[in-house]
Subunit: 333 residues, 2 copies
Amino acid sequence: MASIKTIAHLAGTSVASVSRVINNSGYVSDRLRAKVEGAIAETNYRPSTGARLLRSGKSDLVGILLPSLDVQFFGILAHTMEQALFELGYQSFICSTAESGAHEARYIATFISRRVGGVIAASAESGAAHFSQLQANGIPIVAIDRDLNGLESDAVIIDHDLGGQMMAKHLIDLGHRNIAVVGAPAHSQSIQRRLTGVTTVLAQNGSTLSGLELGHLHNFEETYRLAKLLLDRTNRPTAIIGLTDIAAIGAIHAAHDLGLSVPQDLSIIGFDDIPSAAFVLPRLTTIAQPIRQLGRSAVARLHRLMSNDQSAEIETVPDLRLIHRETTAPPCC
Amino acid sequence: MASIKTIAHLAGTSVASVSRVINNSGYVSDRLRAKVEGAIAETNYRPSTGARLLRSGKSDLVGILLPSLDVQFFGILAHTMEQALFELGYQSFICSTAESGAHEARYIATFISRRVGGVIAASAESGAAHFSQLQANGIPIVAIDRDLNGLESDAVIIDHDLGGQMMAKHLIDLGHRNIAVVGAPAHSQSIQRRLTGVTTVLAQNGSTLSGLELGHLHNFEETYRLAKLLLDRTNRPTAIIGLTDIAAIGAIHAAHDLGLSVPQDLSIIGFDDIPSAAFVLPRLTTIAQPIRQLGRSAVARLHRLMSNDQSAEIETVPDLRLIHRETTAPPCC
DNA sequence: AAGATTTGTGGTATCGTTTTCATAAAAGGA
DNA sequence: TCCTTTTATGAAAACGATACCACAAATCTT
């Protein structure tokens, strides 16, 4: 593969001059520049990032750590952040841990090896132990919706408690008093916080949960099963809160298969606003997470950290929004 | 940041010995190995990938080029390929072009700069011009569901024509003779091939399309609008083929909003089997693309190319599958 | 016209690794 | 015991780029 020497030779000059042409630094005559550029075009030469980094010590690489890419939430998040970083001239190194601690550890080691300039870590529940290595190497970290317990790092978080409150409030305002909750995965902090928000509002209204089913696995089959459990009871709830849209969609299907019509017999609300929420019939009422703004906000934070910009500009952590579609209505009869 | 010299100094030995410990090569005494490993643990040292690549010339990096990550299809594809590559010891460098030629060009330049060992490019319609640079640098390429016109490269493709035939055949077998098609984006090769498959089968059965609406933008709003056009006609079709699931879901909503019931009044079939297809009510009958197998197949192909494995093991290009759910039935009345 | 800048170019040390080579101690073979 | 292997270690040369330094030619000042 062509190197800077190849180019220098081809253009009949020195490596120093080629470097100057590439980096637009120092003085270069038009004649020489033309010759060098010709040689570069001819050979499809590109300067080696590795050698460059080695010498200059400057890295434009940002590590992005996500639990997965096949979950739409993270796909959108990754996409948004990559675009935002691209605009700022950074390169993104996107890694999905597949929820495995071993993968996470290996990727963090890779981040250090590749000398990333910064890291954005999106919610995953595994311990924060590995991250201290990054810190030890002076690599700034921004956490998205994740607690790096104790580790000094910037974080962009969503107010899941508030989200839970919004769901409960919406149903209470419609007149529901017999409300149950279904969700997964039970161990997730975000899920737990949403639940807290829900019970808080119910308590404020002198009410309590009439049913609660939390699953271990976050998928349709599991939440469908749990929702059915809720609906099979005597004293069936008039409304179900899905702690995620998947759970809510599971509930819609459960209701449908039980011959219940939504929202006449049962109101359902979800959380996330994944694309399917708008596709399902009836269209799902839900709380939209501002995924893209979340991503952009994290990128802005990291950019500040990496460029040592001291201006403590306030980050606008974007708000949750209630999207009132077709699955909620006042309780009938 | 700690370097191999730091470690050598800390362990009271030479850089050569440290290198030997790191790479498990040559002879190292247990005593020395222990000291070196101690120093490494103490400093969180990781060898610089850049310097390593520079010296050894061996790269374990694979460039993955996709049009986007926020589209579930590509999210799943990226995720699968990353996992498969991870198992094989490769690192993935995932880049989403955001369907922009400029982004694609910059990423390909980056691939060369970073000295990737190979590239997997998933379908995007922009010219193959940039890819010749990779070839010029001796970097193997595997194309997924994409034509790198003329460029000598491996390709893993889906038989969209067959997919189209399957959709049409399913409806014909159910007894439909008045069939219309809705889809987007019109310029996509895959979309066009599916359409060809559909018309072929219709022709074989002495029939023709009773309606066709192709949109430019591939989203719900657009396909919903187009499907409505189809359903507003006199001589309404008894079945609609969505060239993608999104289009089919648009059709379901259009039918629903027009008071038509699916599948009694109208059969609908889609293509892709995105998650929403199973969530929508009624659940969408569709042709499933074997995304994960596609990804694994591409990885296997590239691995062969990169490791110079001559064994011409036949790749099993995985088959399309009809998923018969609830939106198709024989025409009534 | 002479000194001071500006412009243009090349030589070379350096970054952090791996790898070859040299050398020496330990172990084995006769 | 002496010679050959095996084991263990270090010195130093690359790899591809950048950046500092040196130097020369051209241009500007006065």
